[in-house]
């Protein structure tokens, strides 16, 4: 029998009715919008052909004459690369990029003594396209700072992803782990109102009922028609699958959608929005297929329902990929174009919605060395060459060049061989049309490749 008296029971009934009335009132105003908001088209300025007037000396009827000749010089597309990170002898990984209001590009990544170590911090630096240089990197947050802000134990941090929030501020999502490996991750977020110079205390996103574990972030968010945000995430605990978090304009979780069932090996989803209704998600494949390919899911109703995952034509060696939709509808992707290892990185384009891909440039190619035995001298020579070709600015500073080579050697020769790894690409298009690609370079540095629309056009015309 209950131990409650009559008046206590009446009071409880009143409480039950009040509580559920409040909850139903709140639920009735809970709105999750679908339909994508397309990004603003970049303002691309293709340089005009330059006309040069030259004075040329010619002989006419035995007499020397000076003749004016006009020459038209076709402008050349620009591609350049740099190292964005500047710390030596650390492991560096998982970069993301966001364009600042003044056209500069801010990058975020994590680095420390090793991936998952307690000293790993989320770092950031800014690329100034007018000066073509990266700033020194600064620490945004780390394990202790996050622990203090969240008032709970944190053992490691990783995978920062930044985006422009609906109110114009910057949001940075990153994963934090309290127990176990990366499968135990939760997502936290910080806000900046000064373009990333300073950040709010972290805030935890609650995305899973099971001790809030196993939601990880890696790829850029998308926007829905009402300004709310779709954050592509993935789950790794027990089984692996892609998901989509729906955040309101304040960054609170209002919905979570499963994009694929567990066991289908879909990780690190990247959303390619074609129009308000149609989008495709491409994912890293973490399954056991002998011929591994990135997986793809599509929606035709603005993200309300997603198709079953199917194999795409893109090779995937259980590695993250980056992709975006260009204003003309073509798709651009950066991925490891191989079934095993991460020894190459390829920039490719698709004009038919991902059915076929054409390579525009091999950003890195060391996969042919897989299995080869190289002695230390030969390997160091290779690293030296790669460092020089990755950042021409280092040629002028012998000491920094040597430090880069030494740092890279620690990873490349960690197993005693000569194993290169290029991974976790991230790609954005800036408002001036420039494409910025950043990726992990041998777990040692973050490499940044930037090219303009003209370079892209020229590659498409066949001049690889």
């Amino acid at each position: 029998m209950s131990l409650m008296g009559k008046y206590q029971r009446l009071a409880l009934l009143a409480f039950v009715l009040t509580a559920f009335s409040m909850a139903l009132f709140k639920a009735s105003s809970w709105h999750v919008a679908y339909g994508f908001r397309l990004p603003l088209a970049p303002e691309v300025k293709i340089p005009e052909k330059a006309v040069v007037v030259k004075q040329v000396v010619v002989r006419k009827k035995g007499r020397r004459q000076t003749v004016r000749v006009t020459e038209t010089i076709a402008p050349q597309g620009r591609i350049d690369s740099h190292f964005a990170s500047s710390r030596f002898n650390v492991q560096t990984h998982a970069v993301s990029l966001v364009e600042l209001k003044d056209g500069r590009v801010r990058a975020f990544w994590f680095s420390g003594s090793r991936e998952g170590a307690g000293d790993v911090t989320i770092n950031s630096a800014v690329f100034d396209p007018t000066k073509n240089i990266w700033s020194d990197e600064k620490v945004v947050t780390g394990r202790s700072h996050t622990q203090r802000g969240l008032h709970r134990y944190i053992s490691k941090v990783g995978n920062p992803v930044a985006t422009r929030a609906p109110d114009g501020s910057l949001w940075m999502f990153y994963v934090t782990v309290s127990l176990g490996g990366w499968a135990g991750s939760s997502i936290s977020m910080m806000t900046s109102h000064d373009e990333g110079e300073s950040w709010s205390a972290p805030r935890r996103l609650i995305t899973s009922p099971f001790m809030n574990i196993s939601t990880l972030v890696k790829s850029p968010p998308v926007f829905y028609s009402d300004g709310t945000v779709g954050l592509p995430v993935y789950h790794e605990f027990i089984s692996k699958y892609a998901e989509m978090l729906h955040l309101d304009k304040a960054g609170k979780v209002i919905d979570k959608q499963r994009l694929a069932a567990g066991g289908q090996g879909t990780l690190q989803p990247v959303v390619l929005v074609r129009n308000e209704k149609e989008a495709t998600v491409l994912t890293r494949y973490a399954g056991k297929d002998e011929a591994p390919r990135a997986m793809g899911m599509t929606t035709e109703d603005g993200g309300r329902r997603w198709s079953e995952p199917t194999k795409s034509v893109m090779k995937n060696s259980n590695a993250a990929l980056a992709a975006l939709v260009l204003p003309d509808g073509k798709w651009l992707a950066v991925f490891n174009d191989q079934e095993r290892g991460r020894g190459n990185l390829s920039l490719q384009m698709s004009s038919d919605g991902g059915a076929t891909w054409e390579e525009l440039r091999r950003l890195e190619e060391m996969s042919r060395l897989r299995g080869a035995t190289l002695d230390e001298v030969a390997c160091t020579d290779l690293i030296d060459g790669l460092v020089r070709s990755s950042d021409a600015g280092l040629e002028a500073d012998a000491q920094r060049l040597a430090s880069h080579v030494d740092s890279a050697k620690r990873w490349v020769r960690a197993s005693g061989g000569c194993l290169f790894e290029f991974s976790y690409p991230y790609m954005i298009q800036a408002h001036n049309g420039d494409i910025h690609v950043a990726y992990t370079w041998n777990r040692t540095f973050i490499k940044h490749v930037v090219f303009d629309s003209l370079w892209l056009q020229q590659r498409l015309k066949g001049g690889k």
Binding site: L24, Q147, R204, A261
Partner: protein
């Protein structure tokens, strides 16, 4: 520290206070000293040492306790203090009411966790994001439970949805206010124990 953080940490501190009150030392204390002891344990569990309190460490491991857990802990604490003060009766809720709640939590846990962790395409956790269906189900269950004379279940459900309505915790999902993993484990163990005991009685 925000109200949400304070509640999350206090819920875990309650566990330690209850455990401390089980110590023989606590039973020998006089009334005022016992209250001071409760406050001292509560403060000690929340006191940061090298930037982290014991409650903060536990919060990192298990997250915030649900409103159902906090309700059970608070009523267990009140009952324990009443018992130590020499009051009559030790339980705030009857055994039947507790078992009804444990059965309810066990069923919810078995319906929620396996599917939320990736079995199939359907994720019941999604229904907790403002899901009217889930709320209506909980309301009907609460009223039915009250009609049957069991008041713990409706109290827990109402507390959970009220806390969700005002955004008490970081979570925006009703499920996180309703159940949590430690409670689910405890409830399943208690339910199984009760079922085994009932079978034993039937055999006798």
């Amino acid at each position: 520290m925000s109200f949400t953080d304070w509640t999350g940490l206090s819920g875990l501190a309650l566990v330690w206070v209850l455990l401390a009150l089980r110590l023989p030392f606590a039973t020998r204390l006089a009334q005022p000293q016992r209250w001071l002891f409760v406050l001292a344990i509560y403060g000690a569990v929340l006191l940061p040492v090298f930037g982290l309190s014991l409650a903060g460490f536990l919060r990192g491991m298990v997250g915030d306790l649900s409103m159902s857990s906090i309700l059970l802990l608070l009523t267990a604490l009140a009952a324990r203090l009443r018992q130590l003060a020499g009051g009559e009766g030790t339980a705030w809720w009857s055994a039947r009411e507790r078992l009804t709640l444990f059965l309810f939590v066990s069923v919810l846990a078995l319906l929620l966790y396996p599917f939320a962790l990736g079995i199939g395409m359907s994720d019941p956790y999604r229904s907790g994001f403002g899901g009217v269906g889930l709320l209506v189900m909980l309301a009907l269950l609460s009223l039915w439970s009250m009609r049957r004379g069991s008041y713990l279940l409706p109290t827990a459900c109402s507390l959970a949805v009220a806390a969700w309505s005002i955004g008490w915790y970081e979570s925006t999902n009703i499920w996180d206010y309703l159940i949590d993993v430690p409670l689910a484990i405890y409830a399943i163990v208690q339910t199984v124990k009760a079922m085994l005991k009932a079978r034993k009685v039937e055999r006798v």
